[in-house]
C-alpha cells in the first residue's frame, strides 16, 4: 500500500440530503487499491448513506464520485456491480432455497454445446471456487442449510469472482462464529494482497484493529477523522465516534438532570434480568433496576443495548435467561405478560414502533391501557378524558386539543405522547430507548426532567442513550455493554463520560481468535489525522 497511489474509489465533497436531514455534508472519502479501509460511525453518522451512494442506490446531491480515476455516476446497484464495485451486505443477499452452486454461478452457469446448463461442470466449478475460500461443502445443498458463516462466504466468493476492484463489506461478521471470522479475515488479507480495495464497516473495534489499514470516522453526516489505523488510540477512536473530546468532558453539563444521582438506591430490585442470552446478540447479560433508580445502558451501536431492552420486554427470542418483575419470573417471549407485570418500553424508532400517526393524541395515549379503562369491555369516555387530561398536563404535551392528530405534533411532543401511553398502564419499570433522539433541545431538556421526576416517584428506569452526557448525568448506575456482553458496571463517582468511554475501549472480553493484542497507545502524534 503506497500513499502515492491513485485511489480506486473516491468521494469528493459528497452531499446527500433527505427531507429534513442532511445525511452527508461534504464528505470526502478515498480508498486505495490493496488497502482495507474501515468506515465507522454511530447511528445517523452517514455510513449507510455513503455506501449507498457508492453502490448506486442513491445519487448524491452534490460533490462527485470517482472510480479508477474517472468521474462516474451509477444509476443502479447493477451498474456499480458491473463496473467492479461489489457489496456484501449484513444480511446475505442470495436465494436461500437454491443450491449453493446455482447461487454462486447464477447468470454465469457453464453451458454444454447445446447451450444447456452443464450441471456436472457447474458443481465442479462451484466446489473449486469455494475451496479457495476455505469452504468445503456439498454445493448441491440448498444454500439455507449452510451456516451463516458459510453463506456469507458464498456471497463473498460470488461478489469477488465477478471481477471486483472494490469490495464493500457492511458488518460482515455480525452473525459469524469466531472461527468463521478468522476465515473471513484470511480472505480479506488475500484480497488486499491481490490489490483489491476493501471498505470494511463494523462496530467491533477489535476487528478494525485486526484487519484494517486505515480508518475513516463519520459523525452526524460529516467527516470526523481519517488516518492510519495503527497508532490510533482506542479511547481516541471512541471519542471521535461519539463526538466527545476527551479534554472537554464537563462536570456539570447542559442537561436538565437535577437529581442527586450519587446516592445509591437501596431495596429489592423491581426488575431483575438474569443471564439473558441469545445467539449472536446477547451473551449472559444481567441487569437489575431498583424502584426509584435510573440505570443507564452504555455502549456503541450494535453492542446489544436495544436488544437487552427488547429481551426484558419479551420481544427478543432468548436461548436462556430469566426476567423477574417484583420477584416473579415472566413467561419468556410474551410481551403481554411483561406489560401486565409492569414493564413498559419506549422504543427507539418512534415512527416505526410507536406512534400511530393518523390517530389523535387522545387515542394514542390510551391505546395500551384501554382494558384498564373499560368496564365490562366497554371503554368509559369519561375515564379516558380524565387520564388523557392528566397526562397532557403532567407531561406538558403541547397540542391544540386532545383530538389533534399525533402526526401534526413536533417530535418532542410525539415522544411525550408515547411516554404518556406507557405511563398510563402504570408500569413498575420503564425502559427508555433513546428517549431524546431527534427532538429539539428544549423538548430534550423537558424529557430529561421528566425522567428525573418519574424516578423520584418510585419508578425504576432503564435508560439507553447514545448521548454520553445524558447517560452520565441521568443515571445512578451504568451497565456498559460491548458485543452483546456486560463489560463494566459503573456506580457512584465512576458514573462519568470518561468512565463509559474507558469501559467501551477496554480490551475485548472474548477469548479466542477474536482477541488481539492491545494496540500500543504510546504513538499518539496524530500526524496523519485531519479534522473537519
Amino acid at each position: 500500500m503506497g500513499a502515492s497511489e491513485e485511489p480506486v474509489l473516491e468521494a469528493r465533497q459528497v452531499t446527500k440530503r433527505f427531507p429534513g436531514v442532511v445525511a452527508l455534508d461534504g464528505v470526502s472519502f478515498a480508498v486505495l487499491p490493496g488497502e482495507v479501509h474501515a468506515l465507522v460511525g454511530e447511528n445517523g453518522a452517514g455510513k449507510s448513506t455513503l455506501i449507498k451512494v457508492f453502490t448506486g442506490v442513491y445519487r448524491p446531491d452534490g460533490g462527485e464520485l470517482r472510480y479508477q480515476g474517472e468521474r462516474v455516476a451509477f444509476g443502479t446497484p447493477l451498474e456499480a456491480q458491473r463496473s467492479g464495485i461489489s457489496t456484501i451486505y449484513q444480511e446475505v443477499n442470495l436465494v436461500p432455497m437454491m443450491s449453493v452452486a446455482r447461487n454462486l454461478l447464477l447468470g454465469r452457469e457453464p453451458r454444454n454445446r447445446l447451450g444447456v446448463i452443464d450441471a456436472t461442470r457447474m458443481y465442479a466449478e462451484a466446489e473449486a471456487l469455494l475451496a479457495g475460500y476455505g469452504v468445503r461443502t456439498d454445493v448441491r445443498r440448498p444454500l439455507r442449510t449452510l451456516g451463516m458463516g458459510a453463506q456469507q462466504m458464498v456471497a463473498l466468493a460470488r461478489a469477488i469472482s465477478v471481477d471486483a476492484r472494490v469490495v464493500i463489506m457492511d458488518e460482515p461478521t455480525s452473525s459469524l462464529e469466531p472461527r468463521e471470522v478468522e476465515t473471513l479475515f484470511g480472505v480479506i488479507r488475500r484480497l488486499r494482497d491481490d490489490g483489491i480495495a476493501v471498505v470494511y464497516v463494523s462496530h467491533r473495534l477489535d476487528e478494525l484493529y485486526q484487519v484494517c489499514d486505515r480508518v475513516t470516522v463519520l459523525r452526524d453526516g460529516r467527516l470526523a477523522h481519517t488516518g492510519p489505523m495503527a497508532g490510533l488510540d482506542r479511547l481516541r477512536l471512541i471519542s471521535l465516534m461519539l463526538g466527545r473530546a476527551l479534554d472537554e468532558v464537563r462536570t456539570s453539563g447542559a442537561t436538565r438532570f437535577s437529581r442527586d444521582h450519587d446516592a445509591e438506591a437501596t431495596g429489592a430490585p423491581v426488575m431483575e434480568a438474569r443471564s439473558l442470552t441469545s445467539r449472536h446478540v446477547l451473551r449472559d447479560v444481567s441487569v437489575s433496576v431498583r424502584p426509584g433508580e435510573v440505570v443507564g445502558l452504555g455502549g456503541l451501536l450494535g453492542a446489544g443495548r436495544s436488544e437487552t431492552a427488547k429481551a426484558i420486554l419479551g420481544a427478543l427470542p432468548l436461548d436462556s435467561g430469566v426476567v423477574l418483575v417484583a420477584g416473579l419470573p415472566l413467561r419468556r417471549g410474551s410481551t403481554t405478560t411483561a406489560i401486565r407485570a409492569g414493564v413498559s418500553l419506549l422504543p427507539e424508532d418512534r415512527k416505526a414502533e410507536g406512534i400511530i400517526p393518523n390517530l389523535s393524541v387522545r387515542e394514542n395515549i390510551v391505546l395500551a391501557s384501554l382494558s384498564r379503562l373499560a368496564r365490562g369491555g366497554v371503554v368509559s369516555d369519561a375515564r379516558v378524558d380524565e387520564v388523557v387530561d392528566a397526562f397532557i398536563r403532567k407531561l406538558r404535551i403541547k397540542a391544540s386539543s386532545p383530538h389533534q392528530k399525533v402526526s401534526e405534533l413536533s417530535g418532542g411532543n410525539q415522544q411525550k405522547v408515547l411516554l404518556a401511553r406507557w405511563l398510563a398502564v402504570r408500569p413498575k419499570v420503564l425502559l427508555l430507548d433513546e428517549p431524546t433522539r431527534g427532538i429539539d433541545v428544549g423538548a430534550k431538556a423537558e424529557v430529561q426532567a421528566l425522567i428525573d421526576e418519574l424516578a423520584d416517584e418510585g419508578l425504576g428506569v432503564l435508560l439507553i442513550s447514545s448521548d454520553l452526557e445524558e447517560l452520565a448525568e441521568g443515571s445512578d448506575r451504568i451497565i456498559v455493554l460491548r458485543e452483546g456482553a456486560v463489560v463494566a458496571e459503573l456506580s457512584g463517582a465512576d458514573v462519568t463520560e470518561q468512565g463509559i468511554m474507558t469501559s467501551i475501549a477496554h480490551h475485548s472480553p472474548t477469548s479466542g481468535p477474536l482477541a488481539v493484542e492491545p494496540v500500543t497507545r504510546a504513538d499518539h502524534s496524530s500526524k496523519a489525522e485531519s479534522h473537519d
Binding site: 442470495l94 436461500p96 437454491m98 447464477l106 446448463i117 463489560v487
Partner: protein, 338 residues
C-alpha cells in the same frame, strides 16, 4: 471485567447436530419433491387391490387422457408459481382458446392452432407486462384477466348460444387420434413436460425463475433480468392455456363454453400438491405431473365407489390440498430451525 476463563462454545457439538439436521433436511426435501408421487403410487396400489375395474388399461388410459389437458396448463402455472406469482386467468383462457380454435378450424388446421395461441399468448404477455413493470399484485391483474377473458368469450359465442363445431377432420384428429391406445394430447403433454423440465432445470431462464421466486430483491442485486423473466413466465402460461383449450376443442369437436369455470383453481391445486411452494422459489415439473395424475386418480377412484357422486372428488381433493399445505408449512419450519 471478564476473565479469560470464559470459553467459546465447542465446535464439536454443532457438527453432530449438523449431521442430524442434514438427514432431516434430506427427508424433508424428498417428501417435498416426491410426496405427490409417493401418494400417487400408494393410491394406485390400493385402488388396484380394492376395485377390479381400476387396474385395467382402459381405466388407466382414461385417467391419463383426461389429465393431459390439465397437465398442459399446469406446466405453465408451475413456472408462474415458482416465480412467486399466480395466474388466475388460465381457466378463462382455456375456454377462449377452445372457442377460437373451433371458430378458426373453418379456415384450416393452421389457423385453428395459431389463432388461440396468438390471442391467449397476447393476454399472457399483457398481464406479464403489467405485473412486471408496475409491480401490481399478480392476483389482481390475473383476476381482471379472468373476468375480462370470460366476458370476451361470452361475447364471441353470443352468451353461449352459439357453439362453433369443429368440422375440419384434420384438426379433430389432433385431439382424437390415437397411438398405442392413447390420444395425441397425451403425447403432446408428455413432450411439453420434458421440454419444461429442461427449461426449468437446465437453462438460465429456469434459474432466474427460481431466483426471483426465492428472493426477488437478491435476484435483482445478482443481476437477474427480473422484468423480462416475469413477462416470459406469464406469456408461457397464456400460450399453454390456449393450446390446452385448442386441443380440448379438437377432442370434443366443438368449442364448449361452459367448461373451464374454476379450472384455474384445479390447476393451482395440482401444482401445489406436486410440491411447488405457493410462496415461490421451489418446485418441479415432475411434481406437477404427479399432482395432476393424483387428482385424476382420486376422481377415478371416487367414480368406482358408486354411492358417491363426483362432487366428492372435490371434497377429497380439497382435503388433500389442505394436508399438503400444512405438511409444507411444517417441513419448511423444520428446515428453518437448523
Amino acid at each position: 471485567m471478564m476473565t479469560d476463563s470464559e470459553v467459546l462454545p465447542a465446535h464439536d457439538a454443532p457438527a453432530a447436530r449438523t449431521a442430524a439436521a442434514a438427514r432431516r433436511e434430506h427427508v424433508g426435501r424428498l417428501l417435498q419433491h416426491h410426496g405427490a408421487l409417493i401418494v400417487l403410487a400408494v393410491l394406485v396400489v390400493v385402488g388396484s387391490v380394492a376395485f377390479d375395474f381400476f387396474a385395467t388399461p382402459e381405466n388407466a388410459a382414461s385417467v391419463v387422457v383426461s389429465s393431459s389437458f390439465l397437465a398442459i396448463i399446469a406446466l405453465g402455472m408451475t413456472f408462474v408459481i415458482i416465480s412467486g406469482g399466480i395466474d388466475l386467468s388460465v381457466g378463462s383462457l382455456f375456454v377462449l382458446g377452445g372457442v377460437l380454435a373451433a371458430y378458426g378450424s373453418q379456415a384450416g388446421v393452421v389457423v385453428a392452432l395459431l389463432l388461440p395461441l396468438a390471442v391467449c399468448g397476447t393476454f399472457g404477455l399483457v398481464q406479464g407486462l403489467i405485473i412486471a413493470r408496475t409491480g401490481m399484485a399478480p392476483f389482481i391483474v390475473t383476476l381482471a384477466g379472468l373476468l375480462g377473458v370470460r366476458g370476451l368469450m361470452l361475447a364471441l359465442s353470443n352468451e353461449g348460444a352459439t357453439t362453433y363445431l369443429v368440422k375440419n377432420p384434420a384438426f379433430a384428429a389432433l385431439g382424437q387420434g390415437e397411438l398405442f391406445g392413447l390420444t395425441y394430447p397425451v403425447y403432446i403433454a408428455a413432450a411439453l413436460a420434458l421440454l419444461c423440465m429442461l427449461l426449468l432445470q437446465r437453462t438460465g431462464f429456469g434459474q432466474n425463475v427460481f431466483a426471483i421466486g426465492g428472493n426477488e430483491h437478491a435476484a435483482t442485486l445478482m443481476g437477474v433480468p427480473v422484468v423480462r423473466t416475469k413477462v416470459l413466465v406469464y406469456l408461457m402460461s397464456g400460450l399453454l392455456a390456449g393450446l390446452a383449450g385448442a386441443l380440448n376443442a379438437a377432442r370434443l369437436s366443438s368449442g364448449v363454453t361452459i367448461l373451464g369455470i374454476g379450472l384455474e383453481l384445479d390447476v393451482i391445486a395440482a401444482v401445489v400438491i406436486g410440491g411447488t411452494l405457493l410462496t415461490g422459489g421451489a418446485g418441479s415439473v415432475t411434481g406437477t405431473v404427479s399432482g395432476v395424475l393424483l387428482l385424476g386418480v382420486i376422481q377415478s377412484l371416487i367414480n368406482q365407489i358408486g354411492d358417491l357422486t363426483s362432487s366428492f372428488q372435490q371434497v377429497v381433493s380439497g382435503g388433500f390440498l389442505a394436508l399438503v399445505v400444512i405438511a409444507q408449512r411444517l417441513l419448511s419450519k423444520a428446515q428453518r430451525l437448523n
